[in-house]
């Protein structure tokens, strides 16, 4: 039983921290300092900087540009990036389609797509959900039919295609066999967003910023070489994605940073002249939140240490998504409550409320998504009930 990082790991943490301090451009650093909202171009700028350091896809194999970092170092890297408030990179290429192409794609596909994902030259988005296929993903309808000339023709709609408005490519689950049972007739395609017939319509989230799109496909012609994995075998890919790299899904770094902000705001916010952090009831609320974060953090460490030792994911890893989202939501809610009247402020000009507070309200709102996306917490619980507790269905 050893809860400490090795001297080498601690040195790596110092190295990461120093590098971030050095490498972060002033405009990004300013926003990071107050947890501001990053625009797409800023995110991509940071992507390229990380790529320059070789840290953009630490979990990829070295031959494809991965960082040769073990699980713990990858976690340290992620945690430090979150703690520094660095822009969160788009996960669709690096975390999702990249690993799927690595696992299921042809060599030609690997060579065509992976380097550009790595370099940030091509931006990806995800086409999974449809208006009537959310939690029940397998009931998707976007059709892909062979045109007899070596292509497939796509018709239908995808929804929640986050940042599709900036994307060069989209990966989609399509229905290629309408007669087969739900999961069996699905195929996985890569589609160039510039293909005629593809339209992305951005929508605002409750955070007040555009994040999602509805993406429409009208007679979109996709060459057969863009099929990944076997025809009708797309469900295997969809499931495989869930198994990838779940050790930092808990966003412990982000919530730790938010806790720091909570304390900072509570020290600056006064009730009848007394800083809130010195009012016993508030101090107790913050303490309880910190303890709940510690519990999550230790569960996360257990998962990482276990992965590092090559064990199969243990029960502790299944709770990271659920608790990570709950803690993130409660942490922002606490920040809002501490802010009092200032929590009312919404996308105002700088100076309306203290700089450290300005980004909290949109983040508080958007955090509601954390328990919905990537398999809602209800779906996660269904899975745990059966897979881990062995309850009957």
């Amino acid at each position: 039983m050893d809860l400490s990082f090795t001297p080498e790991q601690s040195a790596f943490r110092d190295e990461v921290r120093a590098w971030i301090r050095e490498a972060m451009p002033p405009r990004i650093r300013e926003k990071a300092a107050v947890d501001g909202h990053f625009e797409h171009d800023e995110i991509m700028e940071w992507h390229r900087i990380l790529h320059g350091k070789g840290w953009v896809a630490p979990h990829w194999p070295a031959e494809w540009g991965g960082a040769k970092l073990d699980v713990t170092r990858r976690f340290i890297l992620t945690e430090e990036l979150e703690l520094a408030g660095a822009p969160a990179l788009s996960p669709f290429g690096l975390m999702m389609v990249g690993p799927l192409i690595l696992q299921f794609g042809s060599d030609a596909q690997r060579k065509r797509f992976l380097p550009k994902i790595l370099a940030g030259e091509e931006v990806w988005c995800q086409g999974y959900s449809e208006p009537n296929a959310g939690s029940d993903l397998a009931s998707l309808k976007l059709s892909a039919e062979p045109d007899g000339k070596g292509n497939y023709v796509l018709n239908g709609q995808k929804t929640w295609t986050t940042y599709a408005q900036y994307a060069d490519w989209i990966f989609v689950l399509t229905r290629t066999d309408k007669t087969a049972k739900k999961q069996s007739g699905i195929s996985f395609f890569l589609v160039d967003m510039k293909t005629p017939g593809v339209t992305a319509r951005p929508t605002l989230t409750i955070a007040g910023t555009p994040a999602f799109c509805d993406t429409f496909f009208e007679n979109v012609v996709v060459p057969a070489e863009n099929l990944v994995g076997p025809l009708h075998g797309g469900w295997t890919l969809a499931k495989a994605l869930l198994g990838h790299e779940r050790t930092y899904i808990a966003a412990v770094g982000l919530s730790t940073r938010t806790l720091r902000r909570v304390k900072q705001i509570a020290a600056a916010t006064k009730e009848r002249g007394v800083p809130l952090i010195d009012v016993p009831a508030w101090r107790a609320r913050i303490a309880r939140m910190e303890i709940e974060l510690w519990a999550l953090k230790m569960a996360n460490y257990r998962a990482i240490a276990s992965a590092e030792l090559g064990h199969a994911p243990g029960p502790e890893s299944s709770i990271l998504k659920i608790r990570g989202s709950e803690i993130m939501q409660q942490m922002y809610e606490l920040a809002m409550d501490v802010m009092g009247h200032d929590a009312l402020s919404w996308h105002n000009t700088p100076g309306t409320i203290p700089e450290a507070e300005a980004s909290v309200p949109p983040q508080f709102n958007y955090a509601r998504a954390a328990s919905i996306y990537g398999g809602s917490n209800e779906i996660q619980k269904n899975v745990i009930a059966k897979a881990i507790l062995g309850l009957p269905s």
């Binding site: 959900s129 009537n132 959310g134 939690s135 029940d136 009931s139 929804t159 929640w160 929508t203 605002l204 989230t205 409750i206 007040g208 999602f212 916010t269 006064k270 009730e271 009848r272 002249g273 009831a281 508030w282 609320r285 939501q329 809610e333 809002m336 409550d337 009092g340 009247h341 200032d342 929590a343 009312l344 402020s345 919404w346 996308h347 105002n348 309306t352 309200p361 508080f364 709102n365 958007y366 509601r368 998504a369 328990s371 919905i372 996306y373 809602s376 917490n377 209800e378 619980k381």
Partner: protein, 379 residues
């Protein structure tokens, strides 16, 4: 005991509900989010003509002499329909300040046009260092001959961005936190030195930061005797909190109804998602929380007019705490049960979520009222 509305009140309720359903669907509020005023001055006038503004004032001040229960009926409809007109700011906050502290002349000058729907008002009381305590007044009013010079800053003044007339609290004696020494002044919007900076609020409504940089006002603009305004502000805080409870109840009922409706229609895995027991029980918990908030909201609506301030504070603080507990749960779960569409700006449920958080933060949050409840003699 009788919790039924009177036949008149039932009529009032259905009239208000059908009028607002027609004249103020949520789509109207959506469009007004982009408007610099954020509400409709002509609808405000119509509301006045319907007698809604006069409802809150006694006949002696030109009103209809309604009870707060009547007002709560209106506000519940405002909450359910996300109606943005500044009733609480103009009528319950600034209006009550003028009504309670002002002279007959001041009533005539300011309340008559308000009741006629020709003006809207705002009360500037909150300051950065005081959180929810209206006696934490750092803004000063220094007597100079027959005038006062006002100096200070007020934050998140509801309807401050558009009000024709502002009521401002300032300290004529004492130090922040003292009960004595607070005075109220009534200022036309165009007063020299009064700077109004509009502020967007999370719920799509508007407020303002008000800066008073050496604003000179005649002594005649003071409301009531010098330094004696604290009890009026204390009463207004309770009126505002009780109003938030009524409006919040409307928010919760609408959120619950939308969610139940969604559970009945949305299909996944080949069945209505309302058949899933875990979601059913969640909806029942939302229902229970709505009924509990209704129960304490009624308590607040009745007791807010109690002549004994201690009784009033006890009931209102209880209701505001319960509102926070219930409103948070109901609107959070409403989003969760809507799934992905719940986090789009296109769907209305997010608007209710935001409004609820704002109502929780206005006129004292959960911790404030919890501490206040525990400090009452009845505890």
């Amino acid at each position: 005991m009788n919790f039924d509305l009177t036949p008149d009140q039932k009529l009032l309720e259905s009239t208000m509900a059908s009028f607002l359903k027609k004249e103020s669907p949520v789509s109207r509020f959506r469009a007004l989010r982009e408007d610099p005023v954020g509400y409709s001055k002509s609808l405000w006038k119509t509301m006045a003509e319907l007698g809604w503004i006069g409802l809150a004032f006694p006949e002696s001040a030109g009103g209809l002499g309604g009870s707060f229960v009547d007002v709560a009926i209106l506000l519940e409809q405002f909450g359910a329909g996300l109606v943005p007109e500044p009733f609480v700011a103009s009528v319950l906050a600034a209006g009550t300040a003028i009504l309670r502290a002002g002279s007959a002349e001041q009533h005539e000058a300011y309340l008559a046009p308000l009741i006629a729907g020709d003006t809207t008002l705002a009360l500037a009381w909150a300051e950065r260092g005081g959180r929810y305590d209206p006696t934490w007044v750092e803004t000063t009013a220094t007597k100079q001959g027959d005038a006062y010079v006002l100096q200070g800053e007020k934050i998140f003044v509801q309807n401050g961005h558009a009000a024709d007339v502002l009521v401002v609290s300032a300290r004529t004696a004492g130090t922040p936190g003292d009960t004595d020494g607070i005075s109220l002044f009534v200022l036309p919007r165009e007063t020299e030195g009064l700077r109004v900076t509009p502020v967007n609020t999370m719920d799509g409504q508007k407020a303002a930061t008000i800066t008073l940089a050496g604003v000179v006002v005649p002594a005649a603009s003071r409301l009531g005797p010098e330094g004696a305004a604290a009890p009026v502000l204390d009463e207004i805080m309770d009126l505002g909190a009780a109003a938030a409870c009524a409006e919040g109840l409307g928010v919760m009922r609408a959120s619950l109804a939308m969610t139940v409706d969604y559970l009945k229609t949305r299909e996944q895995f080949g069945v209505k998602i309302g058949t899933f027991q875990a979601l059913q029980h969640r909806a029942v918990d939302m229902f229970i929380r709505t009924e509990l908030a209704k129960s304490t909201s009624i308590l607040a609506s009745v007791k807010v007019s109690d002549p004994d301030p201690a009784e009033r504070r006890f009931a209102v603080s209880a209701a505001k705490v319960e509102l926070a507990i219930c409103g948070r749960y109901v609107t959070q779960q409403a989003i969760q049960l809507h799934g992905g569409i719940g986090i789009t700006d296109e769907h209305d449920i997010g608007l209710y979520f935001k409004r609820m958080h704002v109502l929780n933060a206005l006129f004292g949050d959960e911790e404030h009222h919890l501490a206040r409840f525990g400090a009452q003699p009845a505890f």
